[in-house]
Symmetry: C2
Subunit: 376 residues, 2 copies
């Protein structure tokens, strides 16, 4: 057998959703999980339990894998550099991935490359923040350079007082202007080691309290505008040498798009592609890191809407399947095998069709019913 083994560091839902295309392609998946109950560990036989912050664990995990890739951005960059120097194939590699790990580095590199980003600066103390606030106007958005996600690590400050705690606890923060955007977009691309790239249709992401709630594919926008947003993502992938999927979250403003965040792995903004694209983001991520030709990212329906399913007050979501599946035979349900906790992202639903408003109603109803905030 010459089928390769892909090692995935991290065993969350992203690794879990790589299982289906890996099974189809006959590619072996090995996951590094913190715990046997992790989302992907439940469904992938070749699961290794260990810490992704420990170099020896990573070394042992990499042995026997043809390539390492990632479910998250939390592996220390210095470990990745060591593994690379030792001959491990890493996709994306540390030279790319560090830009998804460190927002200051990302802002500096994108600015240098001429990619449109919000006005920003690194601030180490109140004086620097005051100067930046005076320049761009308050409020200012503060971000921790590392470790933030889903609204964590972000603080909107209206004055120096609001920032006092964060400034005293962090050596350096990223300060950004608060962008006057009318919606958020995301552009998803996959890129292979020799530079082949495909771009998925640009989508609109609807955030609630800094957490993605709903994705509308494609975003309703002019072709020229969509192409320009996709080109920004393709340019970033090429500039940083990304291998695998790159998700670029953007603000849509009167003057065009501004890049907000990067992720170098399959991303929530592309879950709709499992059913609604010819080739899903999970399959294209695997193809890219294996240096296989990429699959067609185009859609199978005029529109698709994905809604995330969050935990509510009752622990039994399976019972709710009876209602949501009976109400909507076209509903696609994905649950991640996680224990229910209020507000925790536990799964998602996707629907395909022609009428965006009807799709949003269908996806929203199902997600709300599964959570328990609609009906009983």
């Amino acid at each position: 057998m010459t089928y390769p083994t892909v090692g995935v560091v991290g065993a969350g839902q992203l690794a879990r959703m790589m299982a289906a295309p890996a099974i189809a392609l006959g590619v072996r998946l090995r996951v590094l999980a913190r715990d046997p109950t992790d989302s992907a560990a439940q469904v992938i036989p070749d699961t290794v339990i260990g810490k992704h912050t420990d170099l020896d664990t990573l070394r042992a995990f990499a042995a026997g894998c043809d390539v390492l890739t990632f479910d998250h951005e939390h592996v220390p960059t210095e470990h990745l550099r060591t593994l690379l120097a030792e001959g491990v194939t890493l996709h994306p590699g540390p030279a790319a991935l560090e830009h998804a790990q460190d927002k200051l580095l990302m802002r500096a590199r994108l600015t240098q490359a001429g990619i449109p980003v919000p006005r920003w600066r690194a601030v180490a103390d109140a004086a620097e923040l005051a100067a930046f606030g005076a320049q761009v106007g308050w409020p200012v958005v503060l971000k921790t350079p590392r470790g933030g996600y889903d609204g964590k690590g972000v603080l909107v400050v209206h004055n120096l007082d609001d920032a006092r705690d964060w400034l005293s606890h962090h050596e350096t923060l990223l300060a950004e202007e608060r962008v006057d955007f009318h919606r958020e977009l995301a552009a998803l691309v996959a890129r292979s080691p020799h530079g082949q790239a495909v771009a998925y249709p640009v989508v609109q992401t609807v955030q609630v309290d800094g957490v993605c709630n709903e994705v509308i594919a494609p975003a309703q926008m002019s072709d020229a505008h969509a192409v320009s947003a996709a080109e920004v993502a393709l340019a970033i992938a090429a500039e940083l040498g990304v291998v695998g999927v790159l998700a670029v979250e953007m603000f849509d403003t009167a003057d065009g798009v501004l890049v907000n965040e990067l992720a170098m792995r399959p991303h929530n903004c592309g879950h709709w592609s499992i059913e609604a694209a010819i080739t899903s983001q999970f399959e294209n991520h695997l193809r890219a890191v294996l240096n296989l030709p990429l699959g067609d990212p185009r859609m199978l329906a005029p529109h698709a809407v994905m809604a995330n399913v969050f935990g509510g007050d009752h622990p039994d979501m399976y019972r709710a399947y009876l209602h949501v599946m009976a109400r909507d035979p076209g509903l696609h349900v994905h649950m991640y095998g996680k224990t229910v906790r209020p507000g925790r992202k536990l799964g998602h639903v996707t629907v395909l069709g022609a009428d965006v408003d009807a799709l949003r109603e269908r996806a929203g109803h199902a997600a709300g019913y599964l959570r328990g905030t609609i009906g009983e």
Copy 2:
């Protein structure tokens, strides 16, 4: 956690292809494999090694499963009856499944129910066969009542001499007229315990030497003709009380369809549904056996073509991915993790689109290239 466990007896590619929808739904799969290298055993963590012909093995396997279902028809019917009497939930149950296990029983029951079948009779000796041959005309098709598949267990005899060996080795054989058909069709339905049923578009199956080579979805036929074929499958599912997927292979003749074979599980004729139907046969099989509402079986594209990939002379099929994926970015590849042997069914490919001839060329090229009979 209230997510149920589905036990699948048998760990071939059908069980393997249940993994993706099980992962999506958060449903646990447990498979009973003969060997750890079995197709599904490679990708499903909860694999039990044991013999499906051993009652105690089946009992132990069933403990802890919410429902048992099947990857094949080879579990002895008496064991299934015993398990049922002991309170195990089996879908399909033995009263239905025995009609997919025993072709004589199937012919008798369908005839009784008024379902169109070829003329047939049970023959125990040369005199009975001679009488049947005189009645329907030679050649006659002989079938072993149990154990046949993919052209095995079928013999076309032109006279009594041809049949001598089989008659001496089998107590009773099924003799059928050789039907003058112009093509073969298959109708796939899923049915739940309380009788909800959905019908997939009727497909054309193209056989080579008694083995399915290619499936064209939907078959090119009038709506009325397609409806009548689907109604035959729905009628059989209801008549036999099938729970899960039922595949009905049919001969298409000048006088309408005649039922050839039944299978009560996901079937090769429905593999196209993984990508080209809103809900795949594998997901609807799981939903049916779990008594969940069934999903929409309609197609996402005007047409889909599936071609089976058979083993050729070279053992390395993965290398061929480079060519077939580069040539056709819309190609869907499914390999089953089996060792290459000439003529062995190792996987399949599916393509979606509007032009049937172009789809057949694409699927045929990919299957041929993977096998090694095209290019190199």
